[in-house]
Symmetry: C2
Subunit: 227 residues, 2 copies
């Protein structure tokens, strides 16, 4: 029987907030290139987080998000627009929550909720406030206090230290399979939020549970506690 | 003035040998999907090398290359063919050298040449032998002896230890910008082999030199020694 989940920790980008919401703004600024730009930007943002951690050259998530956008504009041969890039960066501060997020979090009042994200504290505070969700979260943990990005063990350890709970009693939710893999590898009870029926990566790690919507999370937790 | 280059170390896949050569075989096995499969396979192979290093879950390059292929076939919804996957893996053992590689290496007799690659010793020995290039290389260094993938510092350190030379006097050549970034970050004299006019990644690192072909490497080294 698994120990009861005494706290829930959520990834932010892609899990609570939709980073592909930048696609609309990107399409307005660079007509015909919105989809390609938003996809390449997101891919490079993650790639830079991994490579900089491996090289021991940490820069915060705002900086690498700017760098990934600059690279993506150049790679797609878009006009080099400093103003347009700054406008796209601002969108990051007010990404909308996925539609089911707020109603789902309201039902999870039995356990404290936190965020554990690659974002800087400023980025996370801004996007949480923009969505009127500040009151939901006991803690907002940022990798910026450990200078490593996910999926390094030190990142997940931060939530253990901050919550004062053993890792086995912390439930971790992410839509990013590689992040769920990292959290499973660390020892959290993990739930993969697979909204788009993605294929799981072959990383030798299986999350404890899979769901296609945060709507089912309260139920999933009750089932897990009975196992 | 930079210290003279006393040894040259080459990346293997993408630099000496062409991994996209699998595209032809992939197209034969999965008609209409050759390009998509070979690109996704390569991207996931690198992603898994970074993520497994970050998670502390090293598996060798043969295993993660198989895993990346399995994921890619599933993600592209190709028929689940164990036989076809094994045939594609075999292609990796005899990837062709890029056309200019052998003539260029023959002109570099003034300094010892080595390989430093993510590949396993078996994979590297096979592809080097298949191209009749065994006699070119003094050392073939594999990440498999350090259990980390590039761009961790420990990987590049291996060449320093093996060659018994200070890192500043080792020239490192790779077509993969992120690998050149890692080698520059480590302290090698680096040359980015940019065959396809790619845009450099924004990782805060600039390689010492850039060339579009290994043909110019002998000349480039002489120019570098005069600087």
């Amino acid at each position: 029987m698994a120990p009861p989940v005494r706290a829930l920790v959520f990834d932010a980008y892609g899990t609570l907030f939709d980073p592909f919401a930048v696609k609309t703004r990107a399409e307005e600024l660079f007509p015909g290139n919105g989809a390609a730009l938003s996809q390449l930007w997101r891919a490079k943002q993650l790639e830079y987080s991994w490579l900089r951690t491996l090289m021991g050259r940490y820069e915060n998530f705002w900086k690498i998000t700017e760098d990934a956008l600059l690279f993506s504009c150049r790679a797609l041969q878009l006009p080099d627009g400093e103003v347009e890039r700054q406008q796209l960066m601002q969108v990051y501060l007010s990404l909308p929550a996925f539609p089911e997020v707020k109603p789902a979090l309201e039902k999870l009042s039995a356990v404290p909720l936190s965020i554990l994200s690659n974002g800087t504290p400023q980025m996370l505070d801004a996007v949480v406030a923009a969505n009127g969700m500040t009151h939901f979260f006991q803690n907002i943990f940022s990798v910026d206090s450990v200078d490593f990005y996910k999926p390094r063990l030190e990142v997940y350890q931060q939530a253990v230290d901050g919550l004062g709970l053993p890792k086995e009693s912390i439930g971790f939710v992410s839509s990013n399979f590689w992040d769920v893999a990292g959290a499973t590898n660390f020892g959290f009870q993990t739930i993969w939020l697979n909204r788009n029926s993605a294929v799981p990566d072959e990383l030798g790690v299986t999350p404890k549970a899979v769901t296609n919507s945060l709507r089912h999370l309260a139920l999933l937790l009750r089932v897990a506690e009975m196992q």
